[in-house]
Symmetry: D3
Subunit: 339 residues, 6 copies
């Protein structure tokens, strides 16, 4: 059974080490984007995964397809068209200096996709799961409409649907996000969010928590999860809980609410190698765990451990295996050399 994700993948251009944009004379080039990251992560976990997107016909698009293939992603449903590749420039932060992301994605081939561009029934043939994030419908009205098409086809195919809210304020307003995402919620079985998304998109708040202070409050998040289930009828809600001590050090945990029980994971104290894609690696871990038959507590532990490892891996893609995640879940976070 296959898993399908749909969204934009961009070239990520990052100065080496801790150089700033205003200092650098070179950029490391990788690729990433919410749903692509989830697809690659699931391939690394051994799942057959299809990634649906649009890419330019030029060599940059070819390079991007090659990188997706390299991790085993099924790229048969990648449309190639004249146009440009979305880019994002990423400057790695350290200590009190935050990482900085500059998007240059306007006018990309992906943002110009239209309803009817994909034969969704072929895409979802034999699929058990569909995942998208709030970034995709934010690319524009036509992509939002396409997302709805995808959700409908997923449901026709009997697939479970998961959505990571992932609010991006540079792409749309809170009002617009609230309206569009509310329209997609009826299709969603599993809703994933970080600490701020529910508030930004739906105005649902976790009381007593100030993200800039690095403190979190579990009770507040339980209430957020309950409200999301209550308002939209989603079956499960997962929330990632990040305490930012600094750009170099975060504490990370997560919770899963299944409409009844709340499962809260262990919390990891992490030295950050690369924080981007942390949420996507959680989503992928959760999808893997749930499709593997893990129950609530085990599933959220797997997802959080997967995400914890991602923070030690360069690039958007979570280059870790199921075995490595299970070893961390099993308690060995001591980082002793494996010979």
């Amino acid at each position: 059974m296959a898993i399908v994700t749909f969204g934009e993948i961009m070239m990520r251009l990052q100065p080496p080490g801790y150089q700033r944009f205003t200092q650098t004379g070179s950029y490391e080039a990788t690729f990433g984007g919410g749903e692509a990251n989830v697809a690659v992560s699931l391939c690394n976990f051994g799942r057959e995964t299809r990634f649906v997107t649009g890419l330019p016909e030029n060599e940059l698009g070819t390079a991007c397809v090659g990188q997706l293939r390299r991790w085993g992603v099924d790229t048969r449903f990648v449309l190639r068209r004249p146009g440009r590749l979305g880019l994002y420039f990423c400057e790695k932060g350290a200590s009190q200096r935050p990482s900085k992301v500059l998007y240059d994605r306007a006018g990309s081939v992906a943002a110009g996709l239209q309803p009817g561009d994909f034969d969704w029934d072929r895409v979802f043939d034999g699929a058990e799961w569909f995942h998208f994030t709030g970034i995709t419908p934010a690319l524009g009205d036509s992509v939002a409409a396409l997302t709805k098409e995808a959700c409908e086809a997923a449901k026709r195919a009997g697939a479970t649907v998961s959505c990571d809210l992932n609010y991006r304020k540079k792409l749309w307003t809170r009002e617009k996000a609230g309206t569009v995402m509310a329209g997609l919620m009826p299709f969603v079985d599993l809703l994933i969010a970080n600490e701020e998304d529910a508030s930004d998109v739906f105005g649902i708040r976790a009381a007593n928590s100030d993200v800039t202070k690095g403190e979190i409050d579990l009770d507040g998040y339980r209430s957020v999860a309950e409200q999301l289930v209550g308002r939209f009828g989603v079956k499960r809600v997962a929330i990632t809980l990040r305490e930012s001590v600094s750009a170099s050090r975060n504490r990370f945990s997560g919770l899963l609410y299944d409409g009844g029980e709340l499962f809260v994971s262990k919390k990891y104290d992490m030295q950050i190698v690369d924080r981007v894609g942390g949420g996507d690696s959680f989503a992928a871990g959760l999808i893997y765990a749930l499709t593997d038959g893990m129950r609530g507590a085990d599933a959220v532990e797997f997802a959080v451990a997967a995400s914890c490892l991602k923070h030690s891996v360069e690039g958007d893609f979570n280059a870790v295996t199921v075995g490595e995640v299970l070893a961390l879940c099993g308690g060995d976070g001591s980082g002793r050399v494996q010979r």
Copy 2:
């Protein structure tokens, strides 16, 4: 007395060495663009030079301004606005494999400039020369109108105007180019072109020359120069003559026609380090030479020697000094170590 150039500057992203776009995992980042290249070259020759353009307000724009400043370019007339930076991806060719340039400049801040954006009389205050290329009006109708504004102000300020035809088929059709450029010719004192521009833009052909064969015919080019002077009334025409043996080896010379006499330079046999910006370095060399009071033969020799050296320098910018150009003009192309 200052020199003014006006146009777009882009970030240039190039894989290291001879890696192809489909292979690379990193890009070297420099900046370049026809008129910016001329401005930097003139600064390196000791001329006070102002570069007029638009750049985004973000850190990439700041990095670009910093690089212009680094070579001494006067950046007071660089407009900073919300928006994106034009980019181009450049893959270095070798032997029979050509270099490849992918432009990603649509929607840039520079392409969105409008008539009225600059106080041209301040820009040209104390200016003796204005240079632009055919790329700038090709960015769009509003930038073409701006270019005309600039030409008019240059003339008001008593400045000489030079134009490098530089036809870019990805930006506009030959018909459009012909119409727009013809409208700008009345302002132009010195017209610069490579082997194909006059044909592409104005349909004026150098007979008996096939650029893909690497053979050139001086008589043909004399006729092209005469036609350009005849049709548009420009005072001087300069033509660069490139024989492409391969991507690794070119022969390069140039000629200058002053409406009467034709001055043909020595021809250089070059191993190519970086071919991009070769024409711009010729234009800058010629402007320097003419504003320095060199006569026809010396001027074209200086311009061709400057361009010859550029082919041995990485990046768009011609990082050479007047002394180095004169040494080559003086006959020392033996490349012996200078201790």
Copy 3:
């Protein structure tokens, strides 16, 4: 219709630039091997291609599979087993200093493959072509037996079989090579060799040619081709003709003999970026051309142009497209910038 290749793929470790083994502190790591190179090249030409090999279960094996996938190679028939990955160290030569290759492939998983390891009928299901090189049977008796298994299955499936003689003196003696390769010739339809292989393996000599002098003699090679057809009954013989002016400069051409007519290609004068894989890119070009329906002259021109471009590309894999090869066949080897 699919193409199948079978052989070993190794990690290639090469010092940056022109550093020597005794100087370097880092190695660029790519992957390559005769049949893998042909497979990647054919994928780049748009052919569906399956590569059959054995690789270790560890992360190095996974990285290798990823790189094959990245170019679109079908890796379903790659066996993963405990053991080591074959390696080769490659030092790039220049001018009078030759490139140097140190193999460290003994005891690799690929060299330990045994008859019965593959279900060849599944491998060749829907296959139209099978390609191998003389390196594969040289890995050991069991791999030679496997190669014969593969040839038999290819023939059962109705596939054309091509073989590149590729004699490696570090792997076996001329005597052993002669015996084993002669046993495989009955299956071979297209036999490919470079200037020395026919002599080394079968004692068939092109008179009047001294490879260390960089001179070649077409008449001698025609006679070699005739002898190969006569002795083994192969349908076609292709020979690559390399004149080594220096490590930095080679002249390269090829010929194809179809048992009647001899087709000799144009000769290219090349600046070398990376010479390794030159023969494999010729083989892949020829297989593409013949399966595309090109006739003798066109086919050998395509193969030689593909190989010519390979010499300007870093790494074993020929990262070029059909369009690029056809452009060079069509006569544009001037290397002018493509904007």
Copy 4:
């Protein structure tokens, strides 16, 4: 109104990452020096800043001028002369291994500057502030005399004068430093020092503090500030307080004494990216804040936040903006990604 700084700028040569001098085969080359760092920092904060120094006429001097210009520093008063560029080699420490600096600055053009080399009245035309450090007069008697010339001219122009004591034991003895610096104190309005400078140069000690233990005592430093004001009549004293947990982790704060009140900043717990230039970024922050009209508490908070951010930036120069410093002052040190 312009700010003027005067001192030496050197090329900084640093092994990549954490390589030691005895291991490295390459050096990253940037430029830095106390007063140059302050000048660049002030430019980044938007201040018009002139840097006065001497540099060799060769290409290394030109490269240095280019880097100063790149950040917007006014380099009109940089003297170019035959001679050498001062260098310093810097090895980055980690954990218990300290960073190591090897100066190779003897005989530099800057160290050979003489009274009369600059037209100080032109330098200070329109200047509101002059900054120098104790390193400059330590370069030799003639440079010390030049420093006095500069102070006198600054006073004539009505500029405020700040001095960072910055004792360098490799350049002069404590006795010599005490004598020379005491002679410059009458010109100084704002005196800046780190934990040890006041003791090394003037024998004024902060009791109960052992810098190698990483413990500091505020009361001791208040007494140091009072003694400095008392003995030399400076208007304000600022002291940086660094607790070195290890080469990888420091705690940093500062205080400002205005002759009456003592303002003590918040303390930052920092992961170190690059510790060099930390004091200079504090000085620049303080000058910016005071010339911007901030009062004591705000000014020291701004200076310390600027310096904190510097520790996360590679190189001597503090590549941060006012906005970034204010954001940290405003309390967001969580390092959350800015998209």
Copy 5:
């Protein structure tokens, strides 16, 4: 008086920064191996040291000899033979992701050494100390026999013998290790082990300690040391105590038991730059200290401080001096810049 070590040295291939094996396109190449690391460390401490091993005759072997010489190791007793160089691939871990080592050493020249290959009496001429690790006899029966030959010759020469147990489960079983190592113990004067070795090799356990928890128990280790002295009659036992907080952070201390007294060192809290070779740097520190005449407490402090510094140094080799180690022993671990 010279020190002799005997064992295998391998090429270490490591992806840059924190890249994983499955991501990297390049490897940094250094050399290392337990006894070679000890030899280099002792040379850095000023000891005349001979390293005995076998290396291939090819350029990789020559590069390895060159690196040993570079640190001053006496390589006269390095045998050069046809064959391969042992390799190991090393992926640097971070935070909860452990470092990973893949050995590719089977069939190396060193592993093929035979009794009689060395003239041990010449090797030990003028030697005062012999050091080996448990890795060497694990390379195979013939190398184990050679090790015994070496021990016998060392004793004949009157040298002290030290052994670092260093159990490697990929090389042999616990049973085999126990048998072989027990046979070598009669020659050993100083036995060194980390937390797990005594248990793995001899079944001697430190109760109440769980290495994956990062907790240690000194009483348990005293008992381990007593048992080792008791069972084998070694004169001294040294144990390294590592608490792994994560791959990025370890706490490290050590103890030395002289058959009577137990000397326990200070404990260092370390940010890890490179953890490999940590144990070898302890052994070298201890050998230096003891041959320098330091007594128990000082010796173990020196050894632990040397090892602490090693964790901040890239590569297997501990590129630090006696002065640097003594400075840390003396209490300055604050990492303050040394100018």
Copy 6:
């Protein structure tokens, strides 16, 4: 029997690839200097070689000693003193742009050496050859006096003395060079010079040769050799003949005059990887050949082939073996891959 060389070794700092000084942000760091290059080359040819110099006591001096040792140079006679290391910055030229060398060697430890600093009789104990270049006495009067001391001791020890004239106009005038070098000639058995040295130092000219034109005239050089033998009584004269087509391409040959016969080598057409050290590799080749018993024609062929290979090797040091040189002498300059 040992060979002794005496002179300065400097750190060589070179921008990567073809970057210019004014562009680069990093430098590759190697070491080199005339006599050190000869010493390393001779070690690579298997000769026991002692290099005598002075180096600073700091880590840069240690790194330099390490690099000498790495190639097997006997560094027992390297004096370590407080002071600085000589440096030179080297920018690699290409095509018509020459390479550029900036020396920063004034005030180095080597330049401060004094008569009496070395126990020359110990240095020359068992030595058969002494080599120095004209650069060493140019470092100053005291070093010139030391050079004479060395020559006298060499003669006492019965060693042959060779001198490479190597005139450096930045170090001394022609007049001074002429006087000092003439004073050393009585000790010299073999005098080596390039095309211009004899003229610059002794006013002895090769008529009809213009080095900037890349043309050479053998008759002229025969006359130069005869004059040198005649005037100074040296036994042999060797002259390197370089035709500079461009910075990327040179033709190189040499001649040896033994007072009777003139031996002229084959001429090599070279693509330049690194031209620095070309003369030193010739000297080393010649010394090796003569001490190996080769006769005139063979000796000069060996020396020229060694130098030819050097031009394809990065860095000052000629990292090639006797086998490689002999292979080229034997006629294989085709650069075919060696597998």
